[in-house]
Amino acid sequence: MSATKSYSEEFLKGIWKENPVFIQVLGMCPMLAVTNTAVNAIAMGVATAFVLLGSSILVSLLRKVIAKPVRISTYIVIIATFVTVADYSIEAFSPALHRELGAFIALIVVNCLILGRQEAYSSKNTVGFAIVDASGMAIGFAFALFCLGATREILGFGTFFGSPIFGEHFEPWVIMALPPGGFLMLGFILLFFNWLEQRKKGAAV
């Protein structure tokens, strides 16, 4: 923890340099499970962002009170509280979306991205930095979910946010709507980002 860290840097690192999906490869379960359409991906991203932001603020505020030996279970209780709020809110506002996302909303509790941020960042930093870090990470995560969801929806259903973009004779790639498509697409996206990284390193040398 250097003394000279700036808010903008802490915010941007979550989106790009330490992107939770492309670089840290965290939160793979929702990443693969609910990204068959762009809408599902965005909804998952927003729900995760809400939980991450809420628990980061609370953990950062309580960081001096939480006893070291029980910190993980305390974090989990805090995260679970926010997940329950998110779960009930989605069920109230959009039952259809809730049915689509299913158990994966409840499973945000065990998303290692959220727990990881509490342990690695919020518990050691002030509230201001915790908010900035959490929003950066959340946007990075939502961005990754959106990339995957949009490509899978375009190829798997021929639509983008539900509206057809290829016309009526589109031949859907069935595999993209199924789990193997998620794995394949995630692999390709990781490949692409590693390639970008290598190019940057190559250019620096």
């Binding site: 021929g158 589109f170 031949e171 069935v174 193997p180």
Partner: protein, 346 residues
């Protein structure tokens, strides 16, 4: 006469080499596919050439795109060794005649990129690249890849040769808007209607099916020629065919009206094509003789299981891919005994 200073060369074995290189082997197999391509054109017309062209284009362009252009350590010869060309041809031959060209192209791209290059290129791939491409197409377009067009009514005539199927020319990402005449493959007929196909039609290839798989006689002749020229290990196709015959004979003896005859099993579907051209890929099959027997027999057993009791009428592709994955394990248990060591020493 100039006398050269005497040189003492120190060499280790092997001293005798067959002089066969990867480009040479690949070109021999590519030549061996020409009669199969000809048979495909005979029965399915220009569609065969269009689809093979598309899948070869996909395979070669991908190979070219990902090959390092300026490498000091390794000359960029992976494009010229013919393996990409062979993958493209083999993939094209496993597609049904009415498939869209863009799908064949995509299959070539996926086969080379996921099937071969991500693993580290030729020699490093775990699965047969052509079958990886086909498996992707099967998962992505399950309807298109199981839509069979009947062979031409007058095979070999110019008129049926130039009759292009509209579905081949569908624009990328689109289905063909026209309806084509379709039929069931011999395996589908047997599995779902219990209606056997005359063995002579299967033998000469006058049935619906993928482009290269229908004409049994051509594949058998080319297989024998390649086995004699030692382009592959003869044990692999022989053990596959023996295992299929043996394992399919048992249910046939018990209930002949329900299950196909062993001869029908051998001649129909992609079994012969898979056994001769796909399973014998030197990269993804065992090199030890004992391993080749185990590999082939397991493929045969899996083919019978999938065909008779699986959800799909055809299972050669999945059987070969599964055993590709098991190849390193087979090699392990099939190591030959080292001369002078005990039986347990491996």
């Amino acid at each position: 006469m100039i006398k050269k200073p005497m040189q003492l060369l120190l060499q280790t074995s092997p001293f005798l080499r067959r002089g066969i290189t990867t480009p040479r082997l690949m070109s021999e197999v590519v030549i061996a596919t020409i009669p199969v391509i000809f048979a495909a054109c005979w029965y399915f017309g220009l569609s065969a050439l269009l689809l093979i062209f598309a899948s070869v284009a996909g395979a070669m362009l991908t190979e070219w795109f990902f090959t390092p252009k300026k490498s000091s350590t390794q000359p960029s010869n992976s494009l010229l060794d013919g393996s990409g060309l062979l993958t493209g041809i083999l993939l094209g031959l496993t597609l049904p005649p009415g498939m869209a060209m863009w799908m064949a192209f995509l299959g070539g791209v996926v086969g080379i990129s996921i099937g071969k290059l991500v693993m580290g290129g030729l020699g490093q791939n775990m699965f047969n690249p052509a079958l990886v491409g086909r498996a992707f197409l099967q998962a992505a377009f399950p309807t298109a890849i199981t839509t069979w067009n009947p062979p031409a009514t007058s095979p070999g005539s110019l008129e049926s040769f130039t009759a292009i199927r509209e579905s081949n020319l569908a624009a990328p990402f689109m289905q063909s808007s026209t309806d084509a005449v379709t039929t069931a493959s011999p395996l589908g007929l047997m599995k779902f209607e219990h209606e056997p196909t005359p063995w002579f039609d299967l033998f000469i290839g006058n049935t619906a099916g993928s482009l290269g798989e229908t004409c049994a006689i051509v594949i058998i002749v080319m297989g024998v020629i390649m086995a004699i020229r030692r382009d592959f290990d003869w044990r692999i196709p022989v053990s596959i065919l023996l295992a299929v015959a043996a394992f399919s004979a048992i249910p046939w003896f018990i209930k002949p009206e329900l299950y196909p005859t062993p001869l029908g099993m051998l001649l129909s579907g992609g079994l012969l094509f898979g056994a001769v051209y796909m399973a014998t890929d030197p990269v993804t099959s065992p090199v030890t003789p004992k391993g080749a027997w185990i590999f082939g027999a397991s493929i045969g057993l899996l083919v019978v299981l999938i065909r008779l009791w699986g959800g799909l009428p055809e299972g050669v592709m999945y059987a070969i891919l599964l055993m590709n994955a098991a190849t390193p394990l087979i090699e392990r248990i099939a190591q030959p005994r080292v001369f002078g060591r005990g039986r347990s020493a491996v």
